[in-house]
């Protein structure tokens, strides 16, 4: 009789264990699937990135210091090198502002931006002709696609944001180069969840 009981116990444990394992496996797979359903690269963006190449070098710090004193130092990878070249050659009229730098600083920052430009991250250039030299990240087809579901009234019509170029108004980790949509909080509207 006690042998039978032991057998019953073992079977029970085995069944319960496999049910739990299956359940947990199912949940984790479901999670992955929901990310995969999101448009293109959310999944990779959601992974914690241990390596942000070249973000702590002297050149990167100089870029952050010089350009970041007026605006968010936009990630170099969001524009092709040819765009950065045009931009750095016309700093005396930088979107209507004078952002002149000494020739040496200008050359160093251009070298940094070119080395980390979208030319090495071609997914940001999808939909762009090879000779297009966009100056505004907000005009990239990639950017527009990413923000097409965001109503104007939450950004341009929102006095607390004002423009799509104010990344860090909503992307709270923008300064660390993180833009995934799970950290988005739109001022006056709250978390963004689509």
């Amino acid at each position: 009789m006690s042998k039978l009981n032991a057998l019953r116990f073992a079977t029970g444990t085995l069944l319960l264990g496999s049910a739990l394992t299956l359940g947990i496996y199912g949940l984790s797979t479901l999670n992955n699937q929901s990310f995969a359903d999101d448009d293109d690269d959310e999944q990779s963006e959601y992974r914690p990135r241990s390596e942000q190449p070249g973000t702590d070098t002297a050149a990167a710090l100089q870029y952050k210091q010089e350009c970041g004193s007026c605006h968010l130092p936009y990630p170099a990878k969001l524009l092709p090198a040819r765009s950065w070249q045009t931009m750095m050659a016309s700093l005396d009229n930088h979107f209507g502002d004078d952002a002149s730098l000494s020739a040496a600083t200008q050359a160093e920052i251009l070298a940094y931006l070119s080395a980390h430009s979208a030319s090495n991250h071609t997914r940001y250039l999808k939909g762009l002709a090879y000779n297009d030299t966009p100056q505004r990240i907000t005009e990239l087809p990639y950017f527009k696609r990413k923000h097409r579901e965001v109503p104007e009234r939450m950004v341009t019509g929102n006095p607390q944001v004002g423009s799509f170029s104010q990344c860090d108004s909503c992307h709270k980790d923008a300064a660390q180069g993180k833009f995934n949509e799970h950290t988005v909080v739109i001022p006056g509207f709250g978390r963004w969840d689509d």
Binding site: F95, A99, S100
Partner: protein
């Protein structure tokens, strides 16, 4: 801690803060001397203030820095906060000559449509570095 140590400590602290204050003003006076060596001067705080508030087709220093330079400002377009400009409110001001030159160049060209003269720079620094 007895009374004597307490007094000695606070005296030391007071001296240190005086020293720090005079050091932060020293930056401005070094820059003023350099401008003077180039033939400008004497400088006038009142002229500096007038230039600060002067309207140039809707643009002025105050557009981004605010009318009161002891208060923080805000970049008109990007909204980025700007630390106060007076040495009294922000001891770091005018301690780096290259930084001062860079911003005078950019901001005079943006605001006035031309570079500022040594006289104008001296006037503004004099106004901003009043104790």
């Amino acid at each position: 801690m007895n009374n004597l140590t307490r007094r000695a400590l606070s005296a030391a602290l007071f001296t240190l803060s005086l020293l720090a204050t005079s050091l932060s003003y020293a930056g401005a006076s070094v820059q003023l001397q350099a401008l003077q060596a180039g033939g400008a001067g004497p400088f006038s705080a009142a002229a500096g203030e007038a230039l600060w508030l002067q309207d140039n087709n809707g643009r002025s220093c105050a557009s981004c820095h605010g009318r009161d330079p002891a208060q923080p400002g805000k970049h008109q377009k990007t909204g980025k906060p700007i630390e106060p400009m007076t040495v009294h409110a922000n001891p770091e001001r005018f301690t780096d000559a290259a930084k001062t030159e860079k911003w005078f160049l950019r901001n005079c060209r943006w605001t006035l449509g031309r570079e500022c003269s040594a006289q104008e720079k001296g006037d503004v620094i004099t106004w901003l570095s009043q104790p």
